[in-house]
C-alpha cells in the first residue's frame, strides 16, 4: 500500500499543495517562536558578555551583599590572579554649554581587561580627562576636545547648577555598551582617580573582574579567589562564561512568559491548520471513493486502506514540516541580519536550537497525521460495492457525528454558563476556561449553524441570476465540508475581533477612570531646565501650541496640612474652571477643593496675610491639589515667604483637543516640553496617561492581530483548497454549464461568490462571537473598576469583514482560473 500512497502523492501533488502550504506556515510559526527565544538569549549573552570579554573570573555580590574596595584588593592578592579590574559605577552630573544631564561614571580598566571600543580620539590618560559613549556624544554634541563640567549626584540638574563644578576634557568617544543594565544612559569613563574623586562614598562595584596569570588554570584561580574572599561577605565567584549565563538567566525570566504567549498563538495556528488538513483529506477520500472501493474489491483490507491514507498524510506532513522549519530559519536569519545593521541591536545573534527544529518537525508531522486519522477511518468505511455503483453526483446531506454534536452542545452551554459567571463576578480566571470551552463547543457543532446561515445569506446572491443562484446552492452542497472550512476561518476571526472589542472596551473603561483620576488634561509642574519657575509667558506659549485648547497658570495661594504633611494650596484663577476635567466642581469664597480620600470636613489654609478655615469639598481625583478661588487667594495674600522657598512653584494647567490620537499626544508632549524648556516627565495628567495607555493597547492589538493573522492566512488557504477540490469534483457540471451557455466570466464569478459566501459568513459569525467574547472578557478582567459597557470598534470590525470578503475573492482566483480553462468538451467526455 505504500506504493499506492506514493503514487497518490505523486499523481495528485497539486491537490496536496494547499495542505502543504498550511502546514508550512503553522510549523514555520512554531519554529520561529522557539527561535526567537533562543536568539534573544544568544543576543543577550553576546551583549552582556562583551563587558567581560577579556576577563577570566568575575566576582559579583551575593544576595544582600555588596562589593567593596577591600575585596578588590583581596582578589588582586589571590594566587594566580594577574590583574584585577574593580569596576566602579557612580552617578554623575555633567554639563556642557547650556546642556546638562546625568550619566554613569565608570573607571577605566587596566589595558589587559579593557573591553571598550574607541570610535574616535583616545581613552583618558590623565586625571582631567574623560571618554563618553557615542550615543551621548551625538545627543549632547560632544567630541574630543570638548570641555565638560562634572559633579557627583543625581536629581534634576540644570547647566547653571554646574558652573562651579570641576572641569574635564573629553579625549575620546567609545561605543556605547549594549548591556541592558547600562544601555540608554550616558556612559562616562575616566581614570580611577578622577572616578573615585567624583564618586566619593556613593560609588558601588557591580563586579570585580580578574585575569588569570599564564600557566594557572582558571579553576585553580577560581578556588584561590574564593578562599581569598572567604569571610569577606556574601560574594559569588564565577568564570566569565558562567557570569554571562547567570545574567542572561536573570533577564530571560520574563522572556519565558513571552515565549509562552507566542506558543499559544502558534498552537492556535496549528489547530486551524489541523482543521484545514482534516478537511482536505476528507474531501480527497470522498473523491476517491470509487478508487478505494476498487482496491477493496481486489482484496485490500480495511487496515491497508487506512494505512495508505495515513502514509499519505505522513509524507505530506514530513515534507511540509521540513519546508516550514527551513522557512522559519530563513525568516529569522533575515530578521537578525536586518537587526545587526541597526546600531542599537548590532549584537543580535541567530540561534537555531535543536529543540526548535525537533519541535517544529514533530508538531507538524504529528498534527498532520492526527488530522488525517478521521478521514482515514472514513476511507475504510467505503464498501467494495461502491466501485460498481454509478456515481451519485449530488451527494446531498452527509452523515453527521451525532456524538460530536451532542458533546459540542454540552460544552457550549456549560462553557457559556461558566463564562457568564466569570463576567458577572469579574473573575477572569473563571471566565477564561469558560470562554475556551464554549468556543470549542461551538466549533464542534458548527455544522448546525454554518450551513443554514450560508444558505440564508446566499439568498442575497439570487438577483445575480443563474451564477448567483448556483453559487448559493454549491456553497452548502456538502454541509460538512462547508462547516469545516468556515470553522477554520471562524477561529482566527473570532480571536481577532475579540481582541479588538476587548481593547476598545478597556480603552473606554480607562478613559472614564483616568478622567476622574486627574484634575486636568495636562499639568506641567516644577521649574524649567534653566531653573526659572513657570510663568504667564509659559502659559501663553503653551496656549498658542497646536492641539492645546486652553492653558492657565495656577499659582500657589498658601499652604495647608493634610494627613500631617504640609501641602501647597493653589489658586484657580477666573476662567480657569474650564480647564478642569470635572466641570461639575464649584468653588466659592467659602470652599476648598481637596483630593479624594482626604477625609476632612473643613481645612485651615494659611497664607502670608493670615489663615482661613474653609469647607472641604472632596473631588473624584487623588491627584487633585487643594484648590481655592481667586477671592480666597486675595484674602490670604499669597504664600508665606518660607513656603515660597520650599520649592512649590506655579503649575501650568492645559486642556487639549479631545480628537488627538495617542501618537499625536505623545508628540505634543515632546514638542511642548522642548518649547517650555522642561523635561518630558514634567508634563503629566489624564491626557498623557490616556495616550500612553492607548499606545500600549494599540501596540498590543497590532502584535496580537499580526500573530493571529497567521491563523487567518492558513484558514484562507483552506478556503481556496476546499474550493479547488470542489471544482475538480464538479468538472463535468462546469463543462455542461459552459456548453449550455455559461460564459467563463460567469463561471469565475460563480466560484468567487461561493468563496465569498463561505468566507463572509465565517467572518460574520466570527465577528459576532468575537464581540460577545471580547465584551464578556473585558467585563471579567475590568469589572472591578466599575460597570463595563460594551464598546464596539465599528471601523475595525468592518475592516475585518471587508478583509474576509476580499480574501475570499482572492482565494477563488486560482480554482476559478483552472475551472475556466477547461473547455466545454473536455469535461463532457463520457467514460
Amino acid at each position: 500500500m505504500l506504493q499506492v500512497a506514493l503514487a497518490q502523492v505523486r499523481m495528485h501533488a497539486r491537490r496536496f499543495v494547499a495542505v502543504g502550504l498550511a502546514v508550512v506556515m503553522a510549523v514555520g510559526f512554531l519554529t520561529a517562536t522557539l527561535m526567537v527565544n533562543a536568539s534573544t538569549e544568544a543576543s543577550l549573552a553576546n551583549s552582556i558578555g562583551a563587558g567581560f570579554r577579556n576577563a577570566d573570573l568575575v566576582v559579583t555580590a551575593g544576595e544582600d551583599g555588596e562589593l567593596d574596595g577591600a575585596m578588590a584588593a583581596a582578589v588582586a592578592k589571590a594566587d594566580g590572579v594577574a590583574e584585577v579590574y574593580a569596576q566602579r559605577h557612580s552617578r554623575v552630573a555633567f554639563g556642557s554649554g547650556t546642556q546638562a544631564g546625568f550619566g554613569l561614571m565608570q573607571d577605566l580598566a587596566p589595558r589587559s581587561l579593557d573591553s571598550l571600543t574607541v570610535v574616535s580620539g583616545r581613552l583618558p590618560a590623565g586625571n582631567g580627562e574623560v571618554a563618553v559613549d557615542d550615543t551621548t556624544a551625538a545627543k549632547y554634541g560632544l567630541a574630543a576636545g570638548t570641555s565638560l563640567k562634572l559633579a557627583a549626584g543625581s536629581g534634576t540638574v540644570a547647566a547653571r547648577d554646574l558652573k562651579d563644578a570641576a572641569g574635564a576634557t573629553v579625549t575620546g568617544v567609545v561605543k556605547a555598551s549594549k548591556d541592558p543594565l547600562l544601555m540608554g544612559q550616558p556612559q562616562l569613563h575616566a581614570l580611577p582617580v578622577l572616578a573615585a574623586r567624583l564618586a566619593g562614598d556613593s560609588g558601588y562595584y557591580p563586579s570585580i573582574q580578574a585575569r588569570v596569570a599564564d600557566g594557572t588554570s582558571v579553576t585553580e584561580a577560581k578556588a584561590a579567589v574564593e578562599s581569598a574572599l572567604d569571610g569577606a561577605g556574601s560574594v559569588v565567584v564565577r568564570t566569565a562564561d558562567e557570569q554571562t549565563k547567570a545574567v542572561v538567566a536573570m533577564f530571560t525570566g520574563g522572556q519565558d512568559q513571552l515565549t509562552i504567549i507566542l506558543l499559544a498563538f502558534a498552537l492556535i495556528a496549528l489547530l486551524v491548520c489541523a482543521l484545514v488538513v482534516s478537511n482536505t483529506f476528507s474531501v480527497l477520500v470522498a473523491q476517491r471513493t470509487r478508487e478505494l472501493a476498487l482496491l477493496r474489491c481486489i482484496g485490500a483490507g480495511r487496515n491497508q486502506i487506512r494505512r495508505s491514507v495515513i502514509v499519505e498524510a505522513l509524507l505530506v506532513g514530513t515534507a511540509a514540516s521540513i519546508l516550514g522549519v527551513l522557512g522559519a530559519i530563513g525568516l529569522m536569519a533575515g530578521i537578525i541580519a536586518v537587526l545587526q545593521r541597526q546600531p542599537d541591536t548590532e549584537f543580535a545573534v541567530l540561534a537555531v536550537p535543536g529543540h526548535a527544529v525537533a519541535a517544529g518537525l514533530l508538531a507538524g508531522v504529528v498534527m498532520t497525521v492526527l488530522a488525517a486519522l478521521s478521514p482515514a477511518r472514513a476511507a475504510t468505511a467505503v464498501a467494495p460495492l461502491a466501485a460498481l455503483r454509478p456515481v451519485d453526483d449530488a451527494r446531498l446531506g452527509n452523515r453527521r457525528g451525532k456524538v460530536r454534536l451532542a458533546a459540542g452542545l454540552v460544552l457550549t452551554v456549560a462553557g457559556g454558563a461558566i463564562l457568564a459567571l466569570g463576567a458577572t463576578t469579574a473573575n477572569l480566571l473563571i471566565a477564561l476556561p469558560g470562554g475556551a470551552l464554549s468556543f470549542v463547543g461551538l466549533l464542534m457543532c458548527a455544522s448546525l449553524f454554518v450551513p443554514p446561515l450560508v444558505r440564508g445569506v446566499g439568498q442575497l446572491a439570487r438577483p445575480l441570476g443563474v451564477p448567483g443562484r448556483l453559487a448559493a446552492v454549491n456553497a452548502v452542497r456538502n454541509p460538512g465540508r462547508t462547516s469545516a472550512t468556515a470553522a477554520a476561518l471562524l477561529i482566527g476571526v473570532t480571536l481577532v475581533t475579540m481582541m479588538m472589542t476587548g481593547a476598545q472596551t478597556a480603552r473606554q473603561v480607562f478613559d472614564t477612570q483616568l478622567g476622574a483620576e486627574y484634575p486636568v488634561d495636562i499639568t506641567v509642574t516644577d521649574r524649567a531646565l534653566d531653573g526659572r519657575p513657570l510663568d504667564q509667558a509659559a502659559a501663553r506659549t503653551a496656549a498658542r501650541h497646536e492641539g492645546v485648547t486652553a492653558a492657565g497658570l495656577v499659582t500657589v495661594a498658601g499652604s495647608t496640612e493634610i494627613d500631617g504633611s504640609q501641602t501647597p494650596v493653589y489658586r484657580l484663577g477666573p476662567g480657569q474652571a474650564q480647564l478642569l476635567q470635572d466641570k461639575s466642581l464649584v468653588l466659592d469664597a467659602g470652599t476648598v477643593l481637596v483630593p479624594q480620600g482626604s477625609g476632612v470636613k473643613t481645612l485651615a489654609v494659611a497664607g502670608a496675610e493670615g489663615s482661613k478655615t474653609l469647607t472641604a469639598v472632596e473631588t473624584g481625583s487623588r491627584f487633585f491639589p487643594p484648590l481655592v478661588s481667586a477671592a480666597v487667594a486675595e484674602e490670604l495674600g499669597g504664600p508665606a515667604p518660607e513656603q515660597a522657598d520650599a520649592g512649590a512653584g506655579p503649575q501650568l494647567w492645559l486642556a487639549v483637543d479631545r480628537e488627538l490620537g495617542a501618537a499625536e499626544l505623545m508628540q505634543l508632549r515632546t514638542d511642548l516640553a522642548a518649547e517650555l524648556n522642561v523635561n518630558d516627565y514634567q508634563l503629566s495628567g489624564a491626557a498623557i496617561e490616556r495616550a500612553a495607555f492607548n499606545q500600549i493597547i494599540d501596540v498590543m492589538l497590532l502584535v496580537v492581530t499580526g500573530l493571529l493573522a497567521v491563523a487567518v492566512l492558513i484558514a484562507l488557504v483552506g478556503v481556496a483548497n476546499t474550493l479547488s477540490l470542489s471544482v475538480l469534483e464538479r468538472t463535468r457540471e462546469s463543462s455542461l454549464l459552459r456548453a449550455l451557455g455559461l460564459t467563463t466570466g460567469q463561471l469565475r464569478g460563480m466560484l468567487a461568490l461561493e468563496a465569498v459566501l463561505v468566507a463572509g459568513v465565517a467572518a460574520l459569525i466570527g465577528t459576532v462571537l468575537g464581540v460577545l467574547y471580547g465584551w464578556l472578557g473585558a467585563r471579567s478582567a475590568l469589572g472591578v473598576f466599575g460597570d463595563v459597557a460594551p464598546s464596539l470598534p465599528w471601523l475595525q470590525l468592518a475592516a475585518v469583514l471587508a478583509v474576509a470578503v476580499v480574501a475570499g475573492l482572492l482565494a477563488s482566483v486560482l480554482p476559478a482560473r483552472r475551472a475556466a480553462r477547461l473547455s466545454p468538451v473536455e469535461g463532457l467526455a463520457t467514460t
Binding site: L470, E733, L736, L740, G741, L828, T830
Partner: protein, 255 residues
C-alpha cells in the same frame, strides 16, 4: 432508395442550412500519436430535418458534432449555424451562440444535480437573462410527459425522464439546431425509443432541425437522413433509413 455519394450536394448552400461545414480538418496530438479526427469534412444539414451521424467508434462523430455546435474549434475549415459563419468566433460569442441558438442532449451528465427539472429546463434562458415563453414551456413539458416531474431533482428521476428533461431544455429556446451525442446510449430500449420518438415528432411537427450522433442502427432509423463517417471522413449517406439499410451501409464500411 439508397444513394452513396462522396459529397453532400447541400454543401454548396451553407447560408440556408441549419448547420454546415466546409473542408473541416482537426487533428489531435502530434508525431507518432497524431490522430486525424476530421479530414476535409464538407457537410450540410437541412432545416427542419432529423439527421443522424453514424460510423464506427473513433470515426470522428463526436468531434464533428462538437465543432458544429461551437463547443470546440477545428484546425481549418468553416462552420455555419443557421446561416451564421461561426468560424473564428471568440469564446464569449460562441457561448452566447450556444445558449441562444443551439440545444444539447448529451449521453449522460445532462442535468445540473442541484437544480430541479424545471430549473434545468429553463437554464439556458436564465443564463441569457431572458424570460421563457410560458405557453411554449407548458406545451413542451406536457408533450414530453414532464408536467408532474418539474419539481424533482435529477437524482429523483429515472434515466429516461432525465433525458426527456434534457430534450425539453434543448427545445425550449427553439434553437436553430438541437445536437444529440448518443442521447439514448445510456437508456434501455423502451426508454430509448420514447426519447427518439419525441425527437422525431419535434422535427416533424415543430420543424425543429436535429443532428444526432449515434452508433445504434435502430436509433438512426428514426432519422430522415443518415450521414456515414469513417476514419474522420464522410463516406456516404442514406435518405429515409431503416435499421436494415443502416446495418448494410455500416457493414460496407467494414465496421
Amino acid at each position: 432508395m439508397t444513394t452513396t455519394s462522396e459529397q453532400s450536394p447541400a454543401a454548396a448552400r451553407p447560408a440556408t442550412a441549419a448547420a454546415a461545414t466546409l473542408s473541416l480538418n482537426k487533428t489531435y496530438g502530434s508525431g507518432d500519436t497524431r490522430v486525424h479526427a476530421l479530414r476535409d469534412v464538407d457537410v450540410s444539414f437541412e432545416q427542419g430535418r432529423f439527421t443522424a451521424i453514424m460510423g464506427p467508434s473513433g470515426s470522428g462523430k463526436s468531434t464533428l458534432m462538437h465543432c458544429l455546435a461551437g463547443l470546440d474549434t477545428a484546425d481549418s475549415g468553416q462552420v455555419w449555424i443557421g446561416g451564421t459563419d461561426i468560424t473564428g468566433l471568440k469564446d464569449k460569442q460562441l457561448t452566447r451562440l450556444r445558449r441562444e441558438r443551439v440545444g444539447f442532449v448529451f449521453q449522460a451528465f445532462n442535468l445540473v444535480p442541484t437544480l430541479t427539472a424545471e430549473q434545468n429546463i429553463l437554464l439556458p434562458v436564465a443564463l441569457a437573462g431572458g424570460t421563457a415563453d410560458r405557453d411554449w414551456f407548458r406545451q413542451v413539458t406536457s408533450a414530453l410527459g414532464l408536467a408532474d416531474r418539474l419539481r424533482h431533482r435529477p437524482h429523483e428521476l429515472s434515466g429516461g425522464q432525465q433525458q426527456r428533461v434534457a430534450v425539453a431544455r434543448a427545445l425550449l429556446t427553439r434553437p436553430d439546431v438541437v445536437f444529440g451525442d448518443e442521447p439514448t446510449g445510456n437508456l434501455d430500449s423502451k426508454a430509448g425509443a420514447e426519447v427518439l420518438s419525441l425527437l422525431r415528432r419535434s422535427a416533424v411537427e415543430m420543424g425543429q432541425s436535429i443532428i444526432m450522433v449515434t452508433h445504434d442502427p435502430v436509433a438512426a432509423s428514426y432519422a430522415d437522413r443518415v450521414v456515414l463517417m469513417n476514419d474522420g471522413e464522410l463516406v456516404g449517406e442514406l435518405d429515409h433509413p431503416d435499421a436494415d439499410s443502416v446495418l448494410g451501409a455500416l457493414a460496407k464500411l467494414g465496421a
